[in-house]
Symmetry: C2
Subunit: 215 residues, 2 copies
DNA sequence: GTTGTCGTTGACTGACCAGTCAATCCATCG
DNA sequence: CGATGGATTGACTGGTCAGTCAACGACAAC
């Protein structure tokens, strides 16, 4: 196949993905039809099935593209030699910036996958847990170093940390909470402060306490 | 109508609701058919439609029954003359105990309504926001009294508080997190400690700071 | 120009399932 | 009794939509 043709095909696939993202964000995954995606992309119905095996696969692709970037970011952050508090700040910052940069994408990821406990979250359970696991690892390391107290299991801390961020994003997505430049920047600090408030080793017990079962 | 007949009808309605709860918890709202509910309840298909206008109404009923109890609990808690931290502890405790007492019900409420941002959460948006509003009010009052610092808006605190609890329940529901008597009791303290850690007035600014738009 | 390869089209099919309804049952009451 | 009316039944309908497929088109290779 010529390079041009191959490139055109890749582009068309992208066009369909981007169109699907807009449609999913607007109507929701279950409420929209495959024909809505095709219309939005300006292609024939059948072409969606030329590039994807199913409607589900379109959403899976959108989710994984972004989630894998986030996992890589967490991995990279963890490798740096900085305090855990700063690592958590970087993770919160990345997620919040992702929302600022592409609200539709984050809306779809959260609403249709991450929070959709019965359907897509099941499919991507491992990818989602991998994020929890890495955050928990950051906390566990900080506990071992004495930066965080050990009263809270790392798993629990990871869950509440991510849960708090996700809920704030949900608040923005559905307009409970004002979302502007300033609010978003403040949110990064606040969510870290709130969670770390219960973790900071101020008067906390030393390490080697409380059992820590694997997530 | 005789009392016996009226009672029998009310009972049958309950039988259907309870069966629906089990089916929703097991298969998920969208994945189950109305006939599954009827089968589980041991009644004919059409009877479900005698007591409910639609499949949606069955879930709405289950959700509202429980949610209204929770709203009442929050209202009642707020009326008491106790520190805000203790009020938040009572709310976390109620939600966690609800899960302990009837895991299926909380699973369905969270998975199918509260977290189902595109469908039922829309319908019940006001009821859900009412809970946030009351929690935010508790925080705001504590800030006015100087118990909590004012760096965080009450809305933000309410969102992260509820988000953290919900995520922990989700962790239990899907087995990320061990859930036994001891863990559940610890969770009550931990979730309050984590959130209040960022709110406690230790070294915080005094009241009359930061604007507080209504949720 | 001819041929082969993909990209592209959109009408069609098959399955699914919420909700309807006409018929039947049966406790109660006059 | 027999009449009344709510409770109960389950076969059926209507609409929806994901996914298929046979045909067509456009471009590259030779």
């Amino acid at each position: 196949m010529s390079t041009t043709r191959r490139q055109a095909a890749a582009d068309k696939r992208r066009v369909i993905l981007d169109a699907a993202l807009r449609v999913f964000a607007r109507q929701g995954f279950h409420a929209c039809r495959v024909s809505d995606i095709a219309d939005e992309a300006g292609v024939a119905y059948g072409l969606v099935y030329h590039y994807f095996d199913s409607k589900d696969e379109v959403l899976d692709t959108l989710f994984l593209e972004r989630w894998n970037i986030m996992l890589e970011l967490i991995r990279e952050t963890d490798r740096q030699q900085i305090p855990a508090r700063q690592k958590l700040r970087a993770i919160a910052s990345f997620i919040i910036d992702s929302y600022r940069h592409d609200p539709d994408l984050m809306k779809v990821i959260i609403v249709e996958v991450t929070r959709a406990a019965n359907s897509f979250a099941q499919t991507h359970l491992e990818a989602i847990r991998e994020a929890y696991r890495m955050i928990a690892e950051i906390v566990a390391q900080a506990q071992a170093d004495g930066e965080f107290k050990v009263a809270v299991t790392p798993q629990f801390a990871a869950l509440t940390f991510y849960g708090a961020i996700e809920q704030v994003l949900t608040g923005w997505i559905f307009g409970f909470l004002p979302c502007n430049e300033r609010e978003c920047e403040r949110a990064k600090d606040l969510v870290v402060e709130m969670i770390c408030g219960g973790l900071d080793a101020v008067g906390g017990r030393s390490a080697a306490d409380a059992p820590q079962p694997a997530i």
